[in-house]
C-alpha cells in the first residue's frame, strides 16, 4: 500500500515537471505560432497585435500558470490554426488511437507471451529457432521501415490490405502489427528466458513430487513466476506503443492522437501540441503506475505481511 502511494506521488511530480518541459520546449523550437493565424500578407504590426492577443509576449511562467489554470477549469482551448475545439479533437482522435493502441497491446502480450512460452517449451527445436529469429528481426528492424515494407508487400504487391485509412478492421491490421512488432519481439524473448529460468527452479521438482500434472506445473506455477518480470516491464511496453504511435499513425494516415500531435507541432499550434503531449505523457505515466501496482499483485514478496 505504501509502495502504491509512493508511486502515485512520484507520478504526479513527473507529470508537473514534464508539463513545464513540454511548455518550454515547444516555445524553444522556433517557428512562429502567429503565422498560422494571419494571412501571409499581414504587416509586422498586425502580427504583433495577434501575438499580444494570444499572450505570447507574456513572461514564460505567466503563460504557463495561465494555461495550467485554464486547463484545470476544464477550458482546453482551441486550435490556433483552425479554431477546432480541443476537447472534441481529443474525443474523436482519442477513440481511434485507443482502437489502435489496444490492438497493439493485445498483439504484444496476447501473441508475444504464447510465442515465448512455445519457444521455451520446445527449446532448441525448429519452433524455438524460428520464433527467436522472428524476435531478433522484430527488435532490429526500425518500425518506420517495417511500415514501408509492409505497405509495399501487402498493399502494393499482394493487394491484400489497404495501405492507409481508417478505421475498419482491414485498415487496422498493418498499423497495429507494425506498432506492436518491437514490443512483441521483446515480450517473446523475455517470456522465453523467464520460463526457462523458472523451469529449472527447485519448486518445480517439489510440485512434480506432489503429483501435479505438467500442465498445472508449467501452465500455472512456472507461468505465474515467469509473469513477474513480464508485468514489471509492461509499463515500458505501453510507453513504447504510445511513442511509436506518432510515427505509425502518420505513416498509415490513421487519424489518432499521434497524428494530431505531429501536425500541431509542425504548425506550431501551441495549445494543441501542449495538450496532446500532456495526454500522451499521462497515458505513459499511468501505464507505468499500473504496471507497478500489477507487479505488486503478481509478486507477493513485495507485499507487506
Amino acid at each position: 500500500m505504501k509502495r502504491v502511494l509512493a508511486r502515485t506521488v512520484y507520478m504526479v511530480i513527473v507529470l508537473v515537471l514534464s508539463s513545464i518541459a513540454v511548455f518550454y520546449a515547444i516555445r524553444l523550437s522556433g517557428g512562429d505560432a502567429v503565422a498560422a493565424r494571419v494571412p501571409a500578407s499581414a504587416s509586422a504590426e498586425e502580427r504583433e497585435a495577434v501575438r499580444e492577443q494570444l499572450g505570447l509576449n507574456d513572461p514564460f511562467h505567466e503563460q504557463y500558470f495561465d494555461y495550467m489554470g485554464r486547463l484545470f477549469t476544464g477550458d482546453l482551448g482551441n486550435s490556433l490554426t483552425n479554431n477546432a475545439d480541443i476537447g472534441k479533437l481529443l474525443t474523436d482522435h482519442g477513440r481511434n488511437s485507443l482502437i489502435l493502441g489496444v490492438a497493439a497491446f493485445v498483439l504484444v502480450f496476447g501473441v508475444g507471451i504464447p510465442l515465448g512460452m512455445l519457444a521455451s517449451l520446445r527449446r532448441n527445436s525448429w519452433w524455438d529457432g524460428g520464433i527467436m529469429t522472428f524476435s531478433v528481426a522484430g527488435m532490429a528492424v526500425p518500425n518506420f521501415w517495417l511500415a514501408l515494407l509492409a505497405v509495399w508487400l501487402f498493399a502494393s504487391v499482394l493487394g491484400w490490405l489497404p495501405s492507409a485509412g481508417c478505421c475498419g478492421p482491414k485498415q487496422l491490421v498493418l498499423p497495429a502489427v507494425v506498432l506492436a512488432m518491437e514490443g512483441m519481439a521483446l515480450t517473446v524473448r523475455m517470456t522465453r528466458s523467464a520460463m526457462l529460468e523458472n523451469l529449472n527452479q527447485d519448486f518445480v521438482r517439489t510440485l512434480r513430487s506432489g503429483g501435479l500434472s505438467e500442465s498445472k506445473v508449467i501452465g500455472r506455477h512456472v507461468f505465474r513466476n515467469a509473469l513477474v518480470p513480464i508485468v514489471s516491464l509492461a509499463g515500458l511496453r505501453i510507453g513504447q506503443i504510445v511513442g511509436y504511435a506518432l510515427v505509425v499513425e502518420t505513416i498509415f494516415g490513421w487519424p489518432g492522437l499521434g497524428q494530431v500531435l505531429v501536425n500541431a507541432v509542425l504548425r506550431r499550434d501551441y495549445p494543441v501540441a501542449q495538450f496532446f503531449s500532456l495526454v500522451l505523457i499521462t497515458i505513459v505515466l499511468l501505464s507505468n503506475w499500473l504496471a507497478d501496482v500489477g507487479y505488486t499483485v503478481v509478486n507477493p514478496r513485495l507485499r507487506r505481511t
Binding site: 517439489t206 512434480r208 513430487s209 503429483g211 513466476n225 507477493p300
Partner: protein, 335 residues
C-alpha cells in the same frame, strides 16, 4: 520389522530397487553416477542412506520418484518394484498418481523448494485435488489439519502465507505437511535438515520420526550426518561412489562396521574426550566418476587393499554372520 532387537526384516519389502544404473550423458561424455544399486525398503522402517556429497544418494532418490533432471541424467538400467509394478516402466500418468499419494519426497532447501508466488495453502490444496475428488473447501480443511499435525502454530491462517513469510523451520514443516497430507506409504527425505539451524534440525528430525511412527510408514532418510543416523535409523545403507558398500541394522553398523569405508567414516567422527586429538580423516579423494578404477572403487584409499582389489570388483555379499558388505579383505574394527 526392525524394532526392538529384531535385526533382520522378516516381511516382504515395500519397495525394492534392483540393479539401478543412472547415468549422466552429455555430448562430450557419459558416465554412471549410480552404478548397479540394489536396495530394499521394508514397511515401517527408517532406512538411512549415507555417504558423502556426490556419491549418488540424491540421484537414487530422484530415480525412485522419476524426477531426475532429464536430460542430462537418466536411468539406464534396473528395476524399482513397488506393489508389483516397476516404477521405471509406468506411464507418466500412473507415476503421477503414485507421487505424494504412495511415495512422497521432501527436499533439502525448503525456501527454493516452495513456489514463491503461491500461498502454501494453495499448493497443498492443489496436491490434494490432484489425487482426491474433493471440493476446494474440503481440501483446504484437510490442508489445515496437515499443517496443524506437523506442529505449525496457527495453522489455518498459515494456509494463506507465502513461503517468504515463514522461517526455515516452518517452511520445512510445510514441506512435510504437503508430503504427508495424503498419507503415503513411503517418505523419502533428502537431507531434510541440512539447510536448517542446528536447533531447528533436531525439531524437524523429531517431527519426521514421530510422523513415521504414528503413520506406520517407511522412511528413506538421506543424509551425510552420522549423528542423525545414530539418532533415527533402524537400518543403514552406506553408499560410496555410486554403489552400496555396506548395509546393516544401525547398532551393528556403529558397533562393528565391516567395510573399510564405513570404518573410516566412523573413525573420522570427532569424539568428546579428555585429551584433544586430531581428527582422523580418510586419506585421498573419491575417484572421479568419469574414470572409475577397474577394481573396487575404494581400493585407492583403502589401508587393507589387496592386489585383487585393484583388478576385481567385489560384490555386495552376505557373510557367515549375516553381515552385508562389499569387500574382499574385511578387517576387524578398532574404533
Amino acid at each position: 520389522m526392525t524394532e526392538n532387537g529384531v535385526n533382520r526384516p522378516v516381511t516382504a519389502p515395500l519397495l525394492s530397487i534392483d540393479g539401478l544404473r543412472t547415468m549422466v550423458s552429455s555430448r562430450r561424455e557419459s558416465f554412471d553416477v549410480v552404478r548397479g544399486l540394489s536396495l530394499d525398503i521394508y514397511p515401517n522402517e527408517v532406512l538411512c542412506l549415507v555417504g558423502e556429497s556426490g556419491c549418488g544418494k540424491s540421484i537414487t532418490a530422484l530415480s525412485i520418484m522419476r524426477l531426475l533432471p532429464t536430460p542430462p541424467v537418466r536411468v539406464r538400467e534396473g528395476e524399482i518394484r513397488f506393489r508389483g509394478e516397476d516404477l521405471l516402466s509406468l506411464s507418466g500418468k500412473r507415476m503421477r498418481n503414485i507421487r505424494a499419494d504412495s511415495i512422497s519426497m521432501i527436499f533439502q532447501d525448503p525456501l527454493t523448494s516452495l513456489d514463491p508466488v503461491f500461498t502454501v495453502g494453495d499448493v497443498i490444496v492443489e496436491v490434494i485435488r490432484a489425487h482426491r475428488d474433493m471440493s476446494k473447501e474440503e481440501a483446504r480443511s484437510l490442508a489445515g489439519d496437515a499443517l496443524a499435525k506437523v506442529g505449525l502454530p496457527d495453522p489455518i491462517s498459515q494456509l494463506d502465507s507465502y513461503p517468504h513469510q515463514l522461517s526455515g523451520g516452518m517452511r520445512q514443516r510445510v514441506m512435510i505437511a504437503m508430503a504427508l497430507v495424503l498419507d503415503p506409504d513411503i517418505l523419502i527425505a533428502d537431507e531434510p535438515t541440512t539447510a536448517l539451524d542446528v536447533t531447528v534440525q533436531a525439531q524437524i528430525l523429531d517431527q519426521l520420526v514421530k510422523e513415521q511412527r504414528e503413520r506406520h510408514m517407511a522412511m528413506l532418510l538421506i543424509t551425510h550426518d552420522l549423528a542423525v543416523v545414530a539418532a533415527v535409523a533402524d537400518r543403514v545403507a552406506v553408499m560410496y561412489a555410486g554403489e552400496i558398500v555396506e548395509q546393516a541394522p544401525v547398532d551393528e553398523l556403529f558397533e562393528d562396521p565391516r567395510h573399510p569405508y564405513t570404518q573410516g567414516l566412523l573413525r573420522a567422527l570427532p569424539k568428546v574426550s579428555t585429551t584433544r586429538r586430531r581428527l582422523d580423516p580418510i586419506p585421498g579423494l573419491v575417484p572421479s566418476l568419469q574414470m572409475m578404477p577397474p577394481g573396487c572403487a575404494f581400493a585407492p584409499r583403502c589401508p587393507h587393499a589387496l592386489d585383487r582389489c585393484w583388478t576385481e570388483q567385489p560384490e555386495l555379499a552376505t557373510d557367515r554372520d549375516g553381515r552385508v558388505f562389499r569387500c574382499f579383505n574385511p578387517q576387524p574394527f578398532a574404533g
